[in-house]
Symmetry: C2
Subunit: 89 residues, 2 copies
Protein backbone atom coordinates (compact mmCIF):
# COMPACT_ATOMS: atom_id res chain seq x y z
CA UNK A 1 0.00 0.00 0.00
CA UNK A 2 1.27 3.41 -0.94
CA UNK A 3 0.77 6.56 1.12
CA UNK A 4 1.72 10.20 0.91
CA UNK A 5 3.80 11.30 3.91
CA UNK A 6 4.71 14.55 5.59
CA UNK A 7 7.62 13.96 7.95
CA UNK A 8 8.85 16.50 10.50
CA UNK A 9 11.92 15.87 12.61
CA UNK A 10 13.10 17.35 15.89
CA UNK A 11 16.64 16.04 16.21
CA UNK A 12 19.65 17.04 18.30
CA UNK A 13 22.05 18.89 16.02
CA UNK A 14 24.74 16.24 16.54
CA UNK A 15 22.63 13.80 14.54
CA UNK A 16 20.66 16.09 12.28
CA UNK A 17 22.91 15.67 9.21
CA UNK A 18 22.59 11.89 9.34
CA UNK A 19 18.81 12.04 9.70
CA UNK A 20 18.54 14.58 6.91
CA UNK A 21 20.59 12.37 4.60
CA UNK A 22 18.43 9.31 5.27
CA UNK A 23 15.20 11.23 4.70
CA UNK A 24 16.53 12.61 1.39
CA UNK A 25 16.95 9.08 0.09
CA UNK A 26 13.19 8.57 0.32
CA UNK A 27 11.44 11.92 0.30
CA UNK A 28 11.58 15.47 -1.05
CA UNK A 29 12.85 18.24 1.17
CA UNK A 30 10.22 20.86 1.86
CA UNK A 31 11.44 23.11 4.67
CA UNK A 32 14.29 22.96 7.20
CA UNK A 33 12.90 20.00 9.12
CA UNK A 34 10.08 18.91 6.79
CA UNK A 35 10.05 16.26 4.09
CA UNK A 36 7.25 15.02 1.87
CA UNK A 37 6.56 12.30 -0.60
CA UNK A 38 5.13 8.94 -1.55
CA UNK A 39 6.28 5.81 0.23
CA UNK A 40 5.37 2.21 -0.35
CA UNK A 41 4.85 0.15 2.79
CA UNK A 42 8.27 -1.51 2.47
CA UNK A 43 9.99 1.84 1.92
CA UNK A 44 8.35 3.21 5.06
CA UNK A 45 9.54 0.20 7.04
CA UNK A 46 13.06 0.60 5.69
CA UNK A 47 13.09 4.33 6.37
CA UNK A 48 11.87 3.85 9.94
CA UNK A 49 14.47 1.15 10.55
CA UNK A 50 17.29 3.39 9.27
CA UNK A 51 16.09 6.35 11.33
CA UNK A 52 15.71 4.23 14.46
CA UNK A 53 19.32 3.10 14.11
CA UNK A 54 20.55 6.71 14.13
CA UNK A 55 18.32 8.66 16.48
CA UNK A 56 18.55 8.88 20.25
CA UNK A 57 15.19 7.71 21.60
CA UNK A 58 15.44 10.06 24.59
CA UNK A 59 16.27 13.24 22.71
CA UNK A 60 15.05 12.94 19.14
CA UNK A 61 11.64 12.67 17.58
CA UNK A 62 10.40 12.11 14.04
CA UNK A 63 6.72 12.76 13.40
CA UNK A 64 4.99 11.10 10.42
CA UNK A 65 1.69 12.15 8.90
CA UNK A 66 0.21 9.67 6.49
CA UNK A 67 -2.26 10.89 3.90
CA UNK A 68 -4.19 8.88 1.33
CA UNK A 69 -3.01 11.21 -1.42
CA UNK A 70 -1.23 14.53 -1.89
CA UNK A 71 -4.47 15.70 -3.51
CA UNK A 72 -6.17 16.09 -0.13
CA UNK A 73 -3.64 18.71 0.97
CA UNK A 74 -3.19 22.25 -0.08
CA UNK A 75 -0.02 23.98 1.11
CA UNK A 76 1.14 27.59 1.24
CA UNK A 77 3.58 29.63 3.28
CA UNK A 78 4.26 33.07 4.66
CA UNK A 79 7.75 34.57 4.86
CA UNK A 80 10.60 33.32 2.75
CA UNK A 81 9.88 30.47 0.34
CA UNK A 82 10.49 26.92 1.57
CA UNK A 83 14.15 25.98 1.18
CA UNK A 84 13.71 23.82 -1.82
CA UNK A 85 11.26 21.46 -3.35
CA UNK A 86 12.45 19.33 -6.17
CA UNK A 87 9.30 18.19 -7.81
CA UNK A 88 5.87 16.60 -7.45
CA UNK A 89 3.79 19.37 -5.87
CA UNK B 1 -15.18 27.44 5.55
CA UNK B 2 -13.36 25.42 8.13
CA UNK B 3 -10.16 23.49 7.52
CA UNK B 4 -7.80 21.34 9.49
CA UNK B 5 -4.26 22.73 9.47
CA UNK B 6 -0.78 21.45 10.14
CA UNK B 7 1.57 24.39 10.58
CA UNK B 8 5.37 24.09 10.70
CA UNK B 9 7.58 27.06 11.39
CA UNK B 10 11.24 27.74 10.67
CA UNK B 11 11.93 30.93 12.60
CA UNK B 12 15.07 32.67 13.76
CA UNK B 13 15.41 32.07 17.50
CA UNK B 14 15.13 35.78 18.24
CA UNK B 15 11.48 35.66 17.19
CA UNK B 16 10.55 32.07 17.92
CA UNK B 17 8.89 32.76 21.30
CA UNK B 18 6.59 35.36 19.77
CA UNK B 19 5.60 33.11 16.89
CA UNK B 20 5.04 30.19 19.24
CA UNK B 21 2.78 32.30 21.44
CA UNK B 22 0.66 33.44 18.49
CA UNK B 23 0.27 29.91 17.15
CA UNK B 24 -0.81 28.64 20.59
CA UNK B 25 -3.70 31.07 20.55
CA UNK B 26 -5.18 29.25 17.58
CA UNK B 27 -3.80 25.73 17.41
CA UNK B 28 -2.57 22.80 19.47
CA UNK B 29 1.13 22.25 19.89
CA UNK B 30 2.30 18.96 18.42
CA UNK B 31 6.07 18.95 18.27
CA UNK B 32 8.81 21.56 18.72
CA UNK B 33 7.91 23.51 15.57
CA UNK B 34 4.60 21.86 14.65
CA UNK B 35 1.05 22.94 15.45
CA UNK B 36 -2.28 21.43 14.42
CA UNK B 37 -5.92 22.24 14.58
CA UNK B 38 -9.14 23.52 13.07
CA UNK B 39 -9.34 27.07 11.78
CA UNK B 40 -12.24 28.97 10.34
CA UNK B 41 -11.43 31.15 7.35
CA UNK B 42 -11.44 34.32 9.46
CA UNK B 43 -9.21 32.76 12.12
CA UNK B 44 -6.72 31.76 9.44
CA UNK B 45 -6.69 35.31 8.08
CA UNK B 46 -6.19 36.72 11.57
CA UNK B 47 -3.43 34.23 12.38
CA UNK B 48 -1.59 34.97 9.15
CA UNK B 49 -1.86 38.71 9.76
CA UNK B 50 -0.44 38.37 13.28
CA UNK B 51 2.39 36.14 12.10
CA UNK B 52 3.23 38.46 9.21
CA UNK B 53 3.56 41.35 11.67
CA UNK B 54 6.18 39.45 13.68
CA UNK B 55 8.28 37.44 11.25
CA UNK B 56 11.19 38.61 9.16
CA UNK B 57 10.27 37.87 5.54
CA UNK B 58 13.91 37.24 4.61
CA UNK B 59 14.76 34.82 7.38
CA UNK B 60 11.60 33.19 8.63
CA UNK B 61 9.11 30.84 7.07
CA UNK B 62 5.81 29.36 8.20
CA UNK B 63 4.45 26.46 6.18
CA UNK B 64 0.72 25.69 6.25
CA UNK B 65 -0.90 22.44 5.16
CA UNK B 66 -4.64 22.57 4.80
CA UNK B 67 -6.64 19.37 5.00
CA UNK B 68 -10.36 18.85 4.57
CA UNK B 69 -10.53 16.98 7.88
CA UNK B 70 -8.22 15.46 10.47
CA UNK B 71 -9.81 12.15 9.53
CA UNK B 72 -7.74 11.93 6.36
CA UNK B 73 -4.50 11.88 8.33
CA UNK B 74 -2.97 9.23 10.44
CA UNK B 75 0.03 10.26 12.53
CA UNK B 76 2.69 8.38 14.42
CA UNK B 77 6.26 8.99 15.57
CA UNK B 78 9.55 7.35 16.31
CA UNK B 79 11.83 8.41 19.16
CA UNK B 80 10.55 10.36 22.12
CA UNK B 81 6.87 11.25 22.20
CA UNK B 82 5.79 14.58 20.72
CA UNK B 83 6.30 17.37 23.27
CA UNK B 84 2.69 17.72 24.17
CA UNK B 85 -0.70 17.54 22.66
CA UNK B 86 -3.54 19.01 24.60
CA UNK B 87 -6.59 17.49 23.05
CA UNK B 88 -8.56 16.75 19.89
CA UNK B 89 -6.59 13.91 18.29
Amino acid sequence: MVGYYIVVYDINEKRVAKVHKILREYLQWRQRSVFEGWLREEELTELMRKLSAVINEEEDSVLFYRLPSEKVIHSFHIGRPPDKFDNVI
